[in-house]
Amino acid sequence: MLLIPAIDLKDGKCVRLRQGRMEDATVFSDDPVAVAKRWVDAGARRLHLVDLNGAFEGKPVNRAAIEAICRAFPELPIQVGGGIREEETVEAYLEVGVQYVIIGTKAVSAPHFVQDLCLNFPGHIIVGLDAKEGKVAVDGWSKLSKHNVIDLAQHFEDDGVSAIVYTDIGRDGMMSGVNVEATVRLAEAVQIPIIASGGITNLEDIRKLCEVTDSGITAAITGRAIYEGTLDFAEGQRLADELCG
């Protein structure tokens, strides 16, 4: 199982949010490339970059920082989410070396968008489904829709997405543990990889996810825990490699 450090970008700086609220942001660093380097040096084999301004505004805002990270680590697979709502944006990100783009809000509001992207950029499209109690949230999590997360995941699997990032909003940034049951339920409903996100606090959470990795949970994104030190990234990835290769 791959452990993926998250770097959330707001106004060019690296921040962490609590429960996805922009007003509740802690600034960690004003040097995104240095932060990326920290995780690469610790053994990260993929990075998850979120353009927070983009997620709320509906268009990329932190492109410069993302590009700088791609240039600094040309061999590193990077996945980017936040405000990706146009095909040109996807193309531009792939050109600078981003490996996957994560479509959030627009995947739900305009279902054909993902289908078209999968046709034009096969192998590069991931859909991010953020849910609270099984219902999908959109617009940077400011709105809760009436869509059921499993139904949507199966629909996107049919479109040809490479993976689903599943974030449990209630757990994100709160370090209260992973919602393993909900993530496994989703993983079992589809064949494509599920990337778990939200709530990873320590090695125990990694152990729990490795126990169920066969359901299709191939990776886990971690944010606050590695920045606050309740999880040592290198140790976490080593454990994940040991337990589930």
């Binding site: 791959l2 084999r45 993929r46 040309p74 061999e75 590193l76 697979p77 792939l94 490996q99 950029f121 096969p122 192998g123 590069h124 490479s162 993976a163 990889p193 191939t218 490699d241 290769g245």
Partner: protein, 215 residues
């Protein structure tokens, strides 16, 4: 109608590879897929690869594409690119040691933290990134129209050894001399990225798309 399958196992720069293949004008259909049947049906197969080899091998195995690769290399022209070439070796030193598909008796080694130019002593950067001369060894249909020592684009921290093995179709040097291309039968694999190598790269892809697998 001619077709080429680009294996999608979640670890390749598929878009640029697929675009480059299309751009040659030498194939009717480029199919990007991990589905065994679609790959089997294609006339030729490309295995791309970027990122950590450990994760590439894990995904190949998870999708049973390791078995499929062993199967298709027996009958179709097969092209490996970058980590897609390294994966064909027996073993890589990357990620605390990663076994590969074992199609070539070679190993993949780190360039080294203190890489130096043996002539000048100048320290060299890792990853090896940028244009570098590819020294062809012997004839091969995929070199058609590509001059000796043409430059191709590389970006890698690990390289294939030994550089003088019989299966090495071309070498390159970045502090150390390494295998830039390995070839055997209907398999041809490059460490460099043809899709990032402008005209020379397109020529190589075009030659591959016209290749019947005989060498």
């Amino acid at each position: 109608m001619s077709s080429v399958a680009v294996i999608d196992y979640g670890m390749g720069n598929l878009h640029s590879v697929a675009k480059a293949l299309e751009h040659t004008g030498c194939v009717d259909r480029v199919v990007v897929t991990h589905e065994a049947e679609l790959i089997r049906r294609a006339d030729r197969v490309v295995l791309p690869g970027v990122g950590a080899i450990r994760d590439c091998m894990t995904e190949l195995r998870r999708l049973h594409l390791d078995e499929l690769v062993h199967e298709v290399v027996q009958t179709k022209p097969f092209l490996g690119v970058c980590v897609g070439m390294q994966a064909l070796m027996e073993w890589s030193a990357e990620n605390d040691g990663t076994p590969g598909l074992g199609l070539f008796p070679g190993r993949v080694e780190y360039f080294g933290a203190e890489l130096r130019d043996p002539h000048t002593g100048a320290s060299l950067k890792v990853p090896h990134m940028g244009w570098n001369q590819v020294h062809q060894r012997g004839e091969h249909p995929l070199w058609k129209g590509i001059a000796q020592d043409t430059r191709f684009y590389f970006v890698h921290s690990y390289c294939v050894q030994p550089a003088d093995a019989p299966f090495v179709a071309a070498s390159a040097t970045h502090g150390v001399t390494f295998a830039a291309v390995v070839a055997r039968g209907n398999i041809f694999a490059t460490q460099f990225h043809p899709e990032k190598s402008h005209t020379a790269g397109l020529a190589l892809y075009a030659n591959f798309l016209r290749w019947d697998g005989q060498s």
